[in-house]
Amino acid sequence: MRFTICAAKPEDCKDIARMIMELAVYEKMPDQVKISHKELERDGFGPNPFYQCLVAEVPEEHKSKDGHTKVGYALFFYTYSTWKGRTVYMEDLYVMPEYRGKGMGKALIATVAKVAKEQHCVRLQFSVLDWNKPSLDFYLSKGAEDLTAKEGWHFLRFHGIALDNLAQEAP
């Protein structure tokens, strides 16, 4: 099946928001999605965007049963390692179930890696849920390392009231 991978435009945000929710359903946490296409438009397309996004699109004749031609996306942003320098973090990689197995996921992550190399980034980082075996297998087959398993790194987070309380103590 032919498909294209292009940088997202502001008008893609409704499709991206739709697919973000589909991915959250797959990760069993749909109630955690709190932003809409409006925040995506505001935060992704100003002079200092918070993220970059690629969209996978199929021709009209291959549109989904609900009529969508934008069928996958990868959302990423630039980060920094004080040991190695510029890095990229891939926040989301998603292809609609009926379009899997056609190389779109691989093309999306490969394009993120290509953009990362062009920007002189030395690492591509992301996270995967430990029960998500198909995704883990896919990434490990591409040469990714599981740093939690290998080195013991854990993600920690402050949010909500704990974040407010912490900020109030700033000098």
Partner: protein
Amino acid sequence: MDIITKTLFVMELAEYEKVSDQVKIAQRDLEQDGFSKNPFFHGIIAEVPEHLKSKEDSCMYFFTGHTKVGYSLYFYTYSSWKGRAVYMEDLYVMPEFRGKGIGKALMSKVSQLGLAAGCTQLNFTVLDWNKSSLDFYLKQGCWDVTSDLGYHCMRCEGDALEHLAQGGL
């Protein structure tokens, strides 16, 4: 920010995390990447008055006479579920200045700056054997996303990143 001090802090933190051979960037990289028009990171420094400057030598590096005694390096990220977020890459206080609230003050300042920028999360990572840091953070009210939800940190670099990029459209 004092880049020479910052570079030496990065080395001290790497020593603590037992991975100093992994540090590959230099002072010039920090200058270029932190102080251009679209910086890759932001930093804050903790400084003490002259009469409290450092006295102890630190393993391979001689750190007497310093007033800049801690730092935090952070950058803005994005959650596709919650929007703007801030990631704290490093938090470090020289050993002789610990236990005085400096680490907490640095982290609080990053939170304050993050909230002011419209962020709803402060994220970072900790090594699972680093019990003193884990206890410090959990006591401040954060939660362990890896333990609670099962998220694993993944990375592609070197040859794996090259091969991956060659498949890009």
